[in-house]
């Protein structure tokens, strides 16, 4: 019997507990040529699932199948601490029946199971519909009968020898420990390859392969008398949707001594005096402030109350008092949502409901211009789009972390665009600061459930006096109220200061799902921000 026949028709013959799946060729040694899913089988399974859903009464259905392969390794000082290789494979079926959503998923990838799960999703949607006051409506989407997309990587991380990865981390650790006062170092690498299939009753069938790479290290310095300890991490090497070239490009061995020196310097740094300071925020730090105070509050599901029980709502409410009216910042402030930047963690060909994402301005010339949407959400902004002569269309911001989770609205890469006029330098931005603090790297972060009140730390804090950087500070955190904070931004750097930071673990939804997202931005200056001293004595 051919593998495909076995898969489609022979499920009953598989072991009672076995997945009976042959859709994935063996992942031996990570050296599988090409992509991992068998295209013909995937297509047939998707059609079976969609047909089963329709027959059971679904007015809409989509089928997502994912094969994830991940690898994680960690070290401390001169030794390895873990090395794990993992794969997970399965599918989920989402349906609309009687105007309500249903979703079910399983790891058993075979013909019998996709049919069972499709029916299970429909039955669940019927149960949910009993509570429904308003039926769902989806914005239109263009059918994509044969879509293909792949992350633009140069070196497949699963092809890189294990020894080379371990050796790189141990050499970086040694370089860090060569700095006097650096006592501990933890370093790690994480890689993901995800093969995704999407098919819908609206005629789309899309295959995509994405990669992500996250190399990281943290160095701890301990005071000789045990009275203090301080850390510095590798925040200037962000996680990216790239291959192993991103790890080698991070130059960990070369950078480790600099990071270690910064940790040691914090031991004797001057504790900050609380007060109001001008802040010069490097993009290694600013990306996280953008993430928390611009990207999250412009998620339309939050604004409408769908995340009120966990991630929260938004200060942007009611929408018609904000869209086109709310001044986020000065005229030069432009914030873009996109899923197209090469290496951006959210970048993708089509989102998890088959929409090709567009690039759009969330903040345009300082004013709130648009919000993040899925197909269910775009119609909620129909009036605004019609007023502005724009189509009612999803921005393609739907995402699920895995086959076992239902897709929902997740942020695209949300970027603060650099100064379009000229390439303003960091020196120029510092030169006009009398009493300020420069912050490099992301640290502690917390923001309220409507994204007003935020507190951010950092990795490295430098005092600025009369236009010059004078020395390190410690125990620094700033507190800000989002509208005032962004309106205090009086200067942004040019293109040459842009850096793309990002998060691998952006949590939202219940059950909580992790999104990975990048935020590129230039250096920027903020006037008169409230700084607190976080050092206390036990």
């Amino acid at each position: 019997m051919k593998r495909r026949q076995f898969l489609l028709h022979g499920a009953a013959a598989t072991a009672a507990l076995g997945a009976g799946t042959a859709v994935l060729p063996r992942l031996a040694s990570g050296a599988v040529p090409g992509e991992t899913l068998d295209a013909a089988v995937s297509r047939e399974l998707s059609m079976l699932a969609l047909d089963a859903a329709r027959s059971a009464g679904a007015s809409y259905a989509d089928f997502r199948m994912n094969a994830n392969r991940s690898q994680a390794l960690g070290t401390r000082e001169r030794q390895i601490t873990f090395f794990n290789d993992a794969e997970t494979f399965g599918f989920g079926v989402r349906v609309i029946t009687n105007g309500a959503w249903g979703f079910a998923a399983s790891r058993e990838v075979n013909a019998e199971e996709v049919v069972r799960v499709a029916r299970q999703a429909v039955a669940q949607a019927r149960a949910n519909a009993s509570t429904q006051q308003r039926p769902l409506e989806l914005a239109p989407v263009e059918a994509v009968p044969d879509g293909r997309w792949r992350s633009p990587i140069q070196v497949d991380p699963f092809d890189v020898p294990i020894e080379e990865k371990v050796d790189l981390l141990l050499r970086a650790n040694a370089a860090a420990l060569g700095v006097n006062g650096a006592r501990f170092v933890n370093s790690s690498m994480f890689f993901l390859k995800q093969d995704k299939v999407f098919a819908s009753t609206e005629g789309s069938y899309i295959e995509q392969t994405l990669f992500r790479a996250f190399p990281n290290m943290t160095i701890t310095a301990v005071a000789p008398d045990g009275s203090d300890f301080q850390t510095r991490n590798s925040s200037d090497v962000a996680p990216m949707a790239l291959g192993y070239e991103h790890v080698t490009g991070g130059r960990f061995v070369e950078n480790a001594p600099r990071w270690a020196e910064a940790a040691v310097a914090k031991l004797t740094a001057k504790p900050v005096q609380p007060g109001r300071y001008d802040l010069v925020l490097l993009p290694t730090h600013l990306w996280l402030t953008i993430h928390e105070s611009i990207a999250h509050p412009t998620e339309l599901d939050r604004i409408m109350g769908f995340e009120a029980n966990y991630a929260g709502t938004s200060f942007i409410f009611p929408i018609d008092e904000y869209l086109g009216k709310f001044r986020y910042g000065r005229d030069f402030m432009n914030v873009q949502g996109e899923r197209s930047a090469p290496g951006g963690l959210s970048s993708i060909g089509w989102d998890d409901e088959g929409v090709r994402p567009d690039d759009y301005l969330i903040v345009k010339d300082g004013v709130l211009n648009d919000l993040q949407t899925t197909r269910e959400q775009a119609p909620w902004l129909a009036d605004w789009y019609r007023q502005n002569g724009r189509p009612v269309r999803s921005h393609g911001n739907s995402y699920a972390q895995s086959w076992s989770d239902v897709q929902f609205q997740r942020m695209p890469n949300v970027n603060l665009l650099p100064n379009p006029e000229r390439d303003v330098s960091l020196d120029e931005i510092v030169a006009d600061v009398e009493d300020g603090i420069l912050i490099d790297g992301d640290g502690s972060f917390s923001i309220d459930q409507q994204r007003y009140n935020a507190q951010f730390g950092g990795q490295v804090f430098m005092e600025i006096k009369n236009g010059r950087i004078t020395g390190p500070l410690k125990d620094v955190a700033y507190q800000a109220r989002t509208p005032e904070f962004w309106n205090s931004m009086d200067m942004i750097g040019g293109e040459s200061t842009v850096f793309s930071g990002g998060s691998f673990f952006d949590g939202k939804g219940q059950p909580s799902q992790s999104n990975a997202v990048s935020h590129s931005c230039p250096v920027a200056r903020f006037r008169g921000v409230n700084v607190i001293n976080t050092g206390r004595r036990a």
Binding site: L73, E87, Q133, L170, F229, F306, F445, Q450, Q479, A538
Partner: protein, 449 residues
């Protein structure tokens, strides 16, 4: 096929034995996790999304000498199982020695605990929808907007190795959280709970609590940030005490990079660090918060006292650090229970001249590990207490505080109760009291409702 829920003991043992038979390593361990999860979310007084998922996963950890690596898959056909063994062995041969590898354990004795309830295992989407309506209907009838999350899992864990160890336990859990808001966005109230047995969750009562707090919290007034007497409801107490528990790693303490490090070297074992009324222990057999009786390595989870009358009695040791320090490994606890007192929250309010009543805390993130200082905000029900009664809602506040300071400033405690204190609403087996404490540090106001 019926809807699969988890691997039975016999199935788990058969798969584990098969995996072990494929192994050529000196030492090998098999971890099997399987289970079904279901959830229903609601917003705007109706169900928004829901899901039912079945997954099962095997992780194989292979060692040649002290060369160790692991691999995992969720495919259980023979080829996949053989492959996952081979992958872990191939990796193990290539990685450097892990000098801290302790080898596999021999057979162990476990407490006969199985926190498994058929009532939870048999929950259907229809059950979930009915439960949601016990909150959403009254909220709608009162002109309020309810949102929330109901989840449950039914699963089994198994550990087996080539030294004869086999451990298996089933478990169930369910949790429910709801946030009710006023339509104008000026008031918000929360309630939540978590149980192993679905029958112990009282949805209507939780809904009433959230509705009452939403009504009470309309139009909050500003108060000055600063040092406040606070009455923390049990959820907020667990939000804080969790932070201390996560900081109790013995090795970090011994290495001088923890609050539990002693100045001049060593750790704080035997030192009094908090109020002498505070005792924190783990007891996986406690029927109110039972948890499974073994760790991922197959180490027995035993009842243990962490803090006794304010004194540090135990820190958390893995097998390597325990052996190095001639003590017993503790693993990480599956639950914890904190001591309480006899005061009710009403009594705390009645005896307070001026203070803040706090429902729960949010976006809790580390600021300074030297003091376990964290920051976060109050949320979904923060009230001013004056002259023995709640006088009005107050705006939410950002705090910068440590559980150590909090637990040194206790005035009164209630009897402990089980809470759902994870920010994501996914439960946790934690029992804590409500606490009235002095000098809780709030650093700024928030306009968030």
């Amino acid at each position: 096929m019926t809807n699969p829920r988890y691997l039975s003991r016999a199935d788990a043992e058969a798969i584990a034995q098969k995996v072990l038979s494929f192994s050529t390593a000196d030492e090998v361990r098999v971890n099997l996790n399987s289970g079904a999860q279901g959830n229903t979310r609601f917003a705007q007084n109706q169900i928004s999304t829901s899901g039912d998922t079945f997954d099962a996963n095997v992780t194989v950890t292979s060692a040649f000498g002290k060369h160790v690596a692991s691999a995992s898959t969720n495919r259980f056909d023979d080829d996949s199982l053989r492959q996952v063994v081979q992958t872990s062995e191939r990796l193990a041969r290539l990685v450097p020695e892990d000098p801290e590898y302790m080898g596999e354990l021999g057979p162990q004795e476990y407490l006969p605990v199985e926190p498994y309830f058929e009532s939870t295992a048999n929950i259907t989407p229809e059950d979930r929808a009915r439960a949601v309506m016990l909150v959403a209907n009254p909220a709608r009838q009162q002109g309020l907007v309810s949102t929330g999350y109901l989840s449950h899992f039914t699963g089994a864990q198994a550990v087996a190795n080539n030294r004869g160890l086999f451990a298996y336990a089933r478990g169930t859990g369910t949790s429910f959280t709801t946030t009710v808001r006023t339509p104008d966005g000026t008031g918000s109230g929360w309630a939540g709970g978590g149980e192993n047995d679905w029958r112990d969750l009282n949805f209507a009562s939780l809904g009433e609590q959230a509705i009452r707090k939403a009504e009470m919290s309309r139009n909050p007034r500003a108060v000055e940030p600063g040092e406040w007497t606070v009455i923390l409801e049990p959820t907020a107490v667990a939000n804080m005490v969790n932070l201390m528990m996560f900081a109790m790693n013995a090795r970090n303490a011994d290495e001088g990079r923890s609050f539990f490090s002693r100045a001049g070297g060593g750790n704080k074992l035997g030192e009094r660090i908090v109020d002498e009324r505070v005792t924190v222990r783990t007891d996986l057999t406690d029927p109110r918060a039972a948890s499974i009786p073994f760790s991922g390595e197959g180490l027995p989870n035993a009842p243990r006292v962490w803090i006794e009358n304010g004194v540090v009695r135990n820190l958390m040791y893995n097998r390597f650090w325990a052996a190095r320090n001639n003590t017993q490994p503790t693993g990480f606890p599956g639950n914890y229970m904190m001591s309480g007192g006899n005061s009710s929250i009403d009594e705390m309010i009645r005896s307070t001249d001026r203070g803040l009543l706090v429902t729960r805390l949010w976006y809790i993130r580390p600021v300074d590990p030297r003091t376990i200082l964290f920051t976060g905000l109050t949320r979904d029900g923060t009230f001013l207490v004056e002259n023995g009664r709640i006088t009005h809602a107050v705006k939410n506040l950002r705090w910068n505080e440590s559980p150590i300071f909090l637990l040194n400033n206790i005035d009164m405690m209630s009897p402990p109760t089980r809470v759902n204190a994870s920010e994501s609403g996914d439960g946790g087996s934690v029992m804590v009291p409500a606490i009235r404490a002095r000098d809780f540090t709030f650093t700024s106001l928030s306009d968030a409702v």
